[in-house]
């Protein structure tokens, strides 16, 4: 049996429970437990990557029920890649958190680890209702983490975040209900088979439920027109939480990618290519709106949230092309942008803490930054990555998406939108940098703190981005193989249901 497959869920979950049982004291013990748990998950995820690189799809049926009746975990290239990405980002966000932000409220380590549990579970599960359950686990912890650290801004955005996502969960359940009523199954591989055979009477029902599902996933990913909650929430939360939330939107992107390739793809009867035609336009509009939002932001953190949204737009555009190079480029860009966005939120926090509690990260005339050289270098390096400028990996991802779009009907609009928004992002970033670093008085803010240990997790994330660039060859081969595996579908389906 492949018991190792549940480890990315079990390790953080059990460690989280231990942290909860330890109560409010013993902070250092909890810090070590959390770090060990995330390192353990990281090790398992790399083992998973090495296993799936040969192209095999591994399944784990809970309680050994015959398929398709039990809940199943499915490990294919995409799942392994996403779990590894979560672990890497989670590790650095956690290391940043234990330098101090974890003292602002109770149960931080528990919440952080449960969040990772939920995200990993969502990536690994092969059952639609189980996906809902893991969505709820990650959402419920996210609800608490959004308001973590308290304050009026966090409470206000937290409330809106909770209400919106509760409605989203209700829609998710309705979609699941209709799909089960029509097909009689919730196993994703089985759905891929059964949805293709749906009769004419139920055509409208399955189509409606398919659209509902994509609305839910789109709201999670922050896709136009369902993005409006994201900038304010992400702009207000505590820095390491914002960094971890960079993976939360990717859960939505993952769910869109999985559902469009597995059961709303080509040759699927009445749900054939259900949402694919809408993905690319929605992604391009997201990109434009996000960059305009970044230009209009008055705070660095809000601008970072809009840039996160822009990166979602770019990768969904790659998925929307719905060919192997497009999806491969989108996956590679996802690896890059998730890590760099995490770094961005952490850098914004450092800048904020050195400008003092009065103006924080607003783009206003203010006191001098205490460590201008260090923070300036981190800022510049991070934004080279965010902009997708060479030599960092964002450039390679964007270039591959652009190349995948050539000789498709979307070529002109795709190239125009991505290139023009990149330029506008550069304008926004230049304005932010000049204001924050140069439009300053000569006095130091007395209440500011030295970066100290907080620099290392950011440097770590940036080093990972450099590694992504150095090993771009093998990584792109992997994402290419992932895209092929997703589009070909049969290995996933036969791994779960047995060879036909």
């Amino acid at each position: 049996m492949n018991h190792f497959m549940v480890l990315p869920v079990i390790i953080p979950m059990l460690s989280a429970l231990v942290c909860l049982l330890l109560g409010d004291g013993l902070r250092n013990t909890k810090r070590v437990i959390g770090a060990a748990a995330i390192l353990g998950t990281l090790a398992v995820s790399f083992y998973m990557l090495s296993l799936t690189s040969s192209g095999q799809v591994i399944t784990y049926g809970f309680g050994d029920w015959p398929m398709p009746f039990g809940i199943v975990f499915v490990l294919d290239r995409l799942a392994a890649l996403m779990v590894a990405l979560t672990s890497v980002l989670g590790l650095f966000a956690y290391l940043y958190a234990i330098t101090g932000p974890d003292t602002r409220g109770p149960a931080f380590h528990f919440l952080f680890l449960m969040q990772i549990t939920g995200v990993n579970g969502a990536f690994l599960t092969g059952d639609l209702f189980n996906l809902f359950v893991f969505f709820e686990i990650l959402l419920l912890t996210a609800y608490v983490l959004v308001v973590y650290g308290s304050g009026p801004a966090r409470t206000r955005t937290g409330m809106q975040y909770v209400f919106l996502n509760l409605v989203g969960s209700a829609l998710f359940l309705i979609a699941i209900g209709v799909i089960y009523a029509v097909t009689g199954t919730l196993n994703m591989a089985d759905l891929a088979v059964k949805l293709a055979q749906v009769g004419g009477n139920d055509a409208m029902l399955v189509r409606a439920s398919g659209y509902l599902l994509i609305v839910v996933f789109g709201a999670k990913a922050g896709l136009f027109p369902l993005f409006f909650w994201l900038p304010h929430s992400y702009g207000a939360v505590t820095a390491p939480v914002a960094a971890l939330f960079a993976i939360m939107t990717k859960v939505g992107v993952y769910a869109i990618l999985r559902s469009t390739t597995l059961f709303f793809g080509p040759e699927q009867g009445f749900v054939e290519n259900l949402v694919v035609p809408y993905l690319l336009p929605a992604a391009l509009i997201t990109l434009v709106v996000a960059v305009l939002g970044a230009l209009a932001s008055t705070k660095l953190r809000t601008m970072s949230a809009y840039l996160l949204l822009a990166s979602i737009g770019t990768m969904v555009a790659g998925i929307g092309l719905f060919n192997a190079p497009g999806i491969s480029g989108a996956l590679y860009y996802m690896l890059h942008s998730t890590l760099i966005m995490g770094a961005l939120f952490l850098v914004a926090d450092l800048i904020l803490s050195q400008r003092g509690p009065d103006i924080r990260d607003s783009f206003e005339y203010g006191p001098k930054i205490r460590q201008p050289l260090l923070l300036g270098l981190l800022f510049m390096f991070t934004f080279i990555g965010v902009l997708g400028l060479p030599p960092l990996s964002g450039f390679l991802g964007k270039a591959q998406i652009l190349a995948a779009g050539s000789s498709t009907p979307w070529q002109v609009s795709l190239w125009a939108v991505i290139l023009v928004t990149s330029l506008l992002t550069m304008v926004a970033v230049a304005r932010a940098g000049t204001t924050l670093f140069w439009n300053t008085s000569d006095t130091l803010e007395t209440r500011s703190s030295v970066a100290g240990w907080k620099t290392y997790p950011i440097v770590g994330l940036l080093a990972c981005v450099v590694l992504l660039t150095v090993f771009a060859g093998p990584l792109m081969a992997f994402t290419q193989a992932t895209a092929d595996q997703l589009l070909e579908r049969t290995s996933y389906i036969s791994a779960v249901l047995g060879a036909p």
């Binding site: 419920l140 409470t155 206000r156 409330m159 909770v162 209900g177 089960y180």
Partner: protein, 111 residues
């Protein structure tokens, strides 16, 4: 004679309609109530997705006719999750009232 299906469908419809109406209000308490009504509607909906049968146990082989047991398992999960979510939403609404000084969903009174 009104059919069972018609009753269920109307009940779900009325619950969702009232829930959406309350959800669009500007105070947190009606919004939480609206969310609760919607989650009731969703639970009923999930319950009926395995088709409605009267007097049939959810056990295969106990009787000639049986009800699909899976939706009942799913609805149990959904109820538990919905309950936790409602409890959290209420707590957050109370906290927001304390921190922000009003019960408006935007955190400030519309003038």
């Amino acid at each position: 004679m009104i059919s069972y299906e018609f009753l269920m469908a109307s009940a779900i419809g009325v619950l969702v309609a009232s829930g959406v109406y309350l959800l669009l209000r500007s105070r947190t308490f009606p919004v939480v109530l609206g969310l609760t009504l919607i989650s009731y509607a969703v639970n009923l909906f999930l319950f009926s997705m395995g088709r409605l049968k009267v007097g049939a146990p959810p056990i295969v082989g106990a009787q000639l006719e049986y009800t699909d047991p899976l939706p009942q398992g799913l609805v149990l999960t959904a109820i538990v999750i919905g309950f936790a979510m409602t409890a959290f939403a209420i707590t957050l609404a109370v906290k927001a009232h304390v921190v922000l000084g009003n019960d408006h969903v935007d955190g400030k009174e519309s003038t």
